[in-house]
Symmetry: none
Subunit: 401 residues, 2 copies
C-alpha cells in the first residue's frame, strides 16, 4: 500500500490519536520460561486497556532485522524504514536537537589521537571527558571558510555533530575515519560531481582543525563520517491532513518527529510525568500526539532488567491521566525491542496495543509479549499501525464502490 493510494482515501475528522512509544519496549525473560520485562511489570492500567483493545506484535523492518532508533521510529510513524533512510550524520545532528535545514550536510564527528605522521593511535582520543570535548568544540567553532557556515555541537566525550550550511551542497561524500588505528585519517572525497563543493569545504574545515588542535593531546585531530542531509519525507499534514505534535525529551526523537511534520512541544522538566503534563496542557491544540519514553531503552541497553520494569510501571501509573483525556484512538508500543539480557536493541517483534471505540477488541486481559501473540493484529509490519489507527479514527474513507 503506497502513500498515494492511502492519501486519496483520507477524509477529515474531529478525532484525536495518541501514539505512546516506550523505546525498546520488547524484551526477553531472564531465565528460559520466565517473564519479559513488560510481563514482569505490574501494569493494571495497561492490562485494563488491553482487554478493550486489539493486540499484536510489530516488526520494524522485517524478520530478523534489528533497527536503530531512526528506522524504528520511521516505521512506527508509518514510513517504510528501508525506503526512507536517515543518514548517520543527520541522526547525530537531530540527536543534539540541531534544526537541520534542507541545504545542511551533517556528519558525525570524533576527536581522535594521531602521531606526528598523522597516523591514528586512538580513534576516540581516550574518550576525553565531555567538558574537554566542549572546550575543543569551542575552538572548532572559530573556523571560518568563505561561502559556507559551520556548526559544531557536542554530543558527549569525544563525539560531536558537524554541520555545513551553504546553498546547493550535496552529501555524497566519503568519511575521513579509516575505522582502524595505524592508518592515517583520510581526506573527504566527492562521490559525484555535485558534491565537489561540499568536499572542498569539509577538507578546509579539517585542515584548520588540524592546526587548531595540534597541541591538544590526546585529542589532536578529528574524523568526520556519515555525511548526510535530512531526507525529504512526506509529512503527516500532507499525507493525512493531521495537525500532529511530538512530546519527547531526547533530541533525536524530536528531530525524527519534526521530519514527519510534527510540531515538537516544549516539555518543562525531564520526567515522564512532565511529558504527560505537556500532553494535558496541549490536548486541545492538536489531533495527533506522539509521546516518547526513552528510559525503557536506556535500562534495556544497560542490561538493567529491574530498571526497565520500573519505567514500564511508571508509565502504567500515569496512564489514567492519558485515558482521562478520552482519546479516540490509542496506540501503545515501541520502536524496537531492547531486552535487558541482550544489553542492546534486538530483532524481536514489539508488543503493541490498539485501543478505540470501533476496535474489534480481543478481550485479552494482559499487555505482554505472549499475550500479544494471541491478538488480532498478529505479527505485522510496524508501518501498518498508522493506517489502522487512522481507520479507527474515522479518517479513511471507502475504497471503490
Amino acid at each position: 500500500m503506497d502513500f498515494k493510494f492511502l492519501q486519496e482515501l483520507i477524509v477529515p475528522a474531529q478525532t484525536k490519536i495518541v501514539l505512546l512509544i516506550l523505546d525498546g519496549l520488547g524484551g526477553l525473560p531472564l531465565e528460559p520460561g520466565g517473564k519479559t520485562e513488560l510481563e514482569t511489570a505490574c501494569t493494571p492500567n495497561l492490562d485494563g486497556l488491553a482487554v478493550k483493545s486489539a493486540l499484536g506484535l510489530t516488526q520494524p523492518a522485517g524478520p530478523g532485522i534489528t533497527v536503530g532508533s531512526g528506522p524504528g521510529h520511521l516505521a512506527i510513524f508509518g514510513y517504510d524504514p528501508i525506503k526512507y533512510e536517515i543518514g548517520r550524520g543527520a541522526l547525530e545532528a537531530l540527536g543534539v536537537d540541531f534544526e537541520l535545514g534542507p541545504d545542511d550536510v551533517a556528519a558525525r564527528g570524533n576527536f581522535c589521537s594521531v602521531d606526528e605522521r598523522g597516523v591514528i593511535t586512538d580513534r576516540r582520543a581516550g574518550r576525553i571527558p565531555t567538558a574537554v570535548g566542549q572546550e575543543l568544540a569551542g575552538l572548532l567553532r572559530t573556523i571560518k571558510v568563505d561561502g559556507v557556515e559551520f556548526f559544531v555541537e557536542m554530543v558527549k566525550e569525544h563525539r560531536f555533530a558537524f554541520v555545513m550550511r551553504a546553498p546547493g551542497l550535496s552529501d555524497a561524500l566519503s568519511g575521513t575515519d579509516p575505522l582502524k588505528v595505524g592508518a592515517s585519517t583520510l581526506s573527504v572525497r566527492a562521490l559525484n560531481c555535485e558534491s565537489e563543493k561540499a568536499a572542498h569545504y569539509a577538507n578546509q574545515f579539517i585542515e584548520q582543525a588540524r592546526c587548531l588542535l595540534a597541541d591538544k593531546q590526546p585529542a589532536n585531530m578529528i574524523t568526520l563520517r556519515g555525511f548526510a542531509k535530512l531526507p525529504r519525507i512526506p509529512t503527516y499534514p500532507e499525507l493525512y491532513g493531521l495537525h500532529p505534535a511530538a512530546i519527547a525529551i531526547n533530541g533525536m526523537y524530536r528531530g525524527v518527529a519534526r521530519l514527519a511534520g510534527m510540531e515538537v512541544l516544549q516539555v518543562c522538566g525531564d520526567t515522564i510525568a512532565d511529558e504527560f503534563a505537556t500532553l494535558e496542557a496541549c490536548w486541545h491544540d492538536f489531533d495527533f500526539f506522539y509521546m516518547h519514553v526513552k528510559k525503557t531503552d536506556t535500562f534495556g541497553e544497560a542490561g538493567d532488567f529491574a530498571g526497565k520494569v520500573s519505567v514500564i510501571e511508571e508509565v502504567d501509573a500515569l496512564m489514567p491521566r492519558l485515558l482521562a483525556l478520552d482519546p479516540d484512538v490509542i496506540i501503545v508500543g515501541g520502536d524496537h525491542s531492547s531486552p535487558a539480557v541482550l544489553k542492546s536493541h534486538s530483532w524481536h517483534p514489539v508488543p503493541v496495543l490498539l485501543y478505540g471505540r470501533h476496535v474489534r477488541a480481543d478481550g485479552i486481559p494482559e499487555f505482554g509479549e505472549h499475550a500479544c501473540l494471541h491478538g488480532s493484529l498478529g505479527v505485522l509490519p510496524a508501518k501498518h499501525m498508522i493506517p489502522i489507527a487512522l481507520a479507527n479514527a474515522g479518517r479513511i474513507t471507502k475504497y471503490g464502490a
Copy 2:
C-alpha cells in the same frame, strides 16, 4: 506471488471448490465485550464445519482499508484489488446486470434539477420516484448519434447507468457533475487524445438530453460521472484452468464474476434457498462455484444487528444441502466487514473458514471473529485464499525439484 508464477504450477484435477461469500460478513459487538453478529447467530452447521477446517481472518486491501463491493470481491476472488480497479461507471453498469463489452464506456448517471441559466439547484432532482426515472430513461433511449450506440438502464430514483458503445472508445473522460449546487453542469472533457471521440459522443448525448428534459421539472437535466471501461483482468479459465460458475442475485456481483471469467447462472427466485437450489441443479457442470449472499450486508448497512444474525442463521440452515454435494474444498467468508453498529462497510478483518480433506484442521469448534483469531490462516490478505483453496483441491503442483 504473481499470477505468472502461480499459473505455471497449475495442474488439472477432478475436484470441486465452493466459495460461499456472505457479503459484509465481519461484524462488531453491540456492547464492548459482547458478541458480533456471526458469534451471536446460532450456527450449528458452520460450527461443525469449523472444527474440521482451518480458520482465519481476511483483509481485502490492506490494514485499515475499507473496501467497496467491487474491490472486496476482486480480492476474495484472488486479485490484487489495488492493481485491478473497476471504475465507478463500470460498477454501476454491472449493478444493473448490463453486459459490458470490451469497447463500452460506462458512466454513472444522475437526473438533476437546473435553473433557467443551467445552474444546478438539486443534484438528485429531489430523489424522484423510480417510476418517474424509468419514464425519463425511456426518453433518453430515443437519443441517436451517428457512429455510436447508447444504453440507458435505470438503477433507482434519480440514478441510471449510461453506456456508450463504439469501436476504439477511451474512458479518459472528466465527469459533468460539479459535485455541488449553485454551479453549472460541465462538459465532458477528453483527458487525452485518444478519448476525444468519446468526449464528443457523450457531449452530443448530453445536449439532446437537455432538450428532451427541458420541461420535465424537477428532473430537467442529467449529470454523468465516473466514466470507465471494464478493466481487463486475467480469468479463472486462463489462470487456473477452472470452469467456474457464479450464483448471485444482484447485478454487480454477477458482473464482477463475469469479469473473472465465471459463467453467471440463472437463479429461479430471489431467496438464498433458491441460490442453493441452483448450486444443486448445476453441480455436475462446473468445478468452481462462487455463491453470493447479499442480505448480510444489507442488514449490516441498515444497522439491523438482529436482521444480519437471522440471515447468517438462514445460510447455516442451508449448509447441509451444500455439504451433501461433498465439495472437495469449501471457503466460507466475506468480501468485507459491515458491522451493524457502524451501519457501513468497515476495515475490520473478515472471518474465513477453509474446509477440505487435506486441510490441517485447527479443531476450533466455532465460526466467529474471535475464534478465527486462533486459526492457522492467521490474518491474511483476502487474495491469498484462492491459491490455498487450489492447493487443497490438488490443482497446484510442486515448485522446483
